[in-house]
Amino acid sequence: MNPATNPGFWSQASLWIGQELLVAIIGVAVVMGFITVSAIALIYSEMKVAAHVQLRPAMLEVGWHGLLQPIMDVVKLLAKELTTASAINKPLFVMAPIIAFVPCLIAFIVIPFNEKLIIRDLNLGLLLIFSFSALNVIGILMGGWASANKYSLLGALRSVSQNVAYEVPILLSVMSVVIMTNTLKTTELVMAQDKIWFIVIQPIAAIIYFVSSIAETNRLPFDIPEAEGELIAGFHSEYSGMRFGLFFLAEYTNMFIVAAVFSILFLGGWHGPFLPGVVWFLIKVYFMVFIVLVARWTFPRVRFDQLMTLAWKVMIPWALVNLLVTGLVIKLVN
């Protein structure tokens, strides 16, 4: 592939670039459509699950048993006025929801719905997901700072320390799985689980990953940054209409991504007896999302110092111990 020796180099190169660009555009379009449909389904199921856990029916008015309600919610968000206070920092205020949402889209590049259904099977698959979800923190911080509201700022600051603290156990528990399979490619991680799922071999890593990822996505019981009832809506209290809708969408998409990574790493991805791989993958992901939804109504919100204690004194030491033991076992077995 040398331009000097190969005369057809530029035509081959532009053909390749054209093909890859087409795959990328189609992939992004499909992913955007999937995210929207999934967000609508998640809004509906969050309200229904929340309601039935509290022994009440939800949303019986719009459509049969409320099936049209999430669509009306999206329409309402689109139609609202985008209020801005006069003391805000306008560029940061406008950019914050965008920065909070775009990393979620990027993480979809390496999520495998099937052996072949993946936008780009990158060699650094898992690392892409984690590095871009760290950008979420910047979006939250910008949102909290740019709204000229001291309570939003408090929510944003707490969110930063919470997210930074819980990144470490996530990465350590994921490392325990990665050193077993020696690869960061998501398809290979799933294919290494065709005999036995990793949740059986690494239960502690699975639990630590799951709890830390609930903290990463700012869901109850780790919901301090958006503590409804204390800070009204925390870092996004000054946002209205579609800007709030973007934060909201980012939260639901983050939940999906975190559940998807859990099922890739620990639950065997697309493996399963009769149904096609895509169906099994979606069943596993939505099962984990369901557990996150029920956990919201099961546990009280943790206090901020309890949250930090949990991260630094319980999650990180045990994740380190798990990594150490995994490394020793691998060394001894090989």
Binding site: V53, L55, R56, P57, W297, T298
Partner: protein, 153 residues
């Protein structure tokens, strides 16, 4: 040493509390709902329910037995009752012709029911009292009683 034991105990107790929490909430998902879908399903009230007051028919009488004595008007702590009556002839008891009550100020204390000497007033079981203007809450109970009699007879 004690701190170390407390650390491990905290972890075990915390992990068990997570399991207990899910054991409480997940069965709730499979139980039927306990709320009543109000406009479509209306609950039946107890006989002892204190709804807004109405004039009661006594067995054997064909008008309401209100004597327009005014005891309930004087007993009411909010002053919402206004009574008018006519006396057909001397020596006969009065009959009430107008019994105005302002429900927006009635506190449903039941004092008028308690002091009536002929038990002409009682609590009804009606609770749907929302109205569109302030004067809709001023009701003539005698007219309501007559409408109830016509509906029944």
């Amino acid at each position: 040493m004690k701190a170390l034991i407390k650390y491990f105990k905290d972890i075990i107790v915390g992990a068990w509390s997570i399991v207990l929490g899910f054991m409480v909430t997940i069965p709730n998902l499979f139980r039927p709902v306990i709320t009543v879908q109000y406009p479509r399903v209306k609950l039946k009230m107890d006989p002892a329910y204190r709804g807004h007051i109405e004039l009661a028919k006594l067995p054997g009488g064909d008008g309401s037995f209100c004597l327009a004595c005014g005891t309930c008007e004087r007993a009411c702590p909010s002053g919402v009752i206004k009574i008018q009556g006519v006396k057909s002839s001397a020596g006969e008891p009065k009959t009430g012709t107008l019994f105005l009550i302002d429900f927006s100020r009635c506190s449903l204390c039941g004092l008028c029911v308690d002091v009536c000497p002929v038990d002409a007033i009682r609590h009804s079981m009606e609770y749907e009292l929302a109205h569109y203007s302030r004067w809709d809450s001023v009701i003539d109970l005698q007219a309501r009683y007559r409408m109830q009699q016509e509906g029944r007879g």
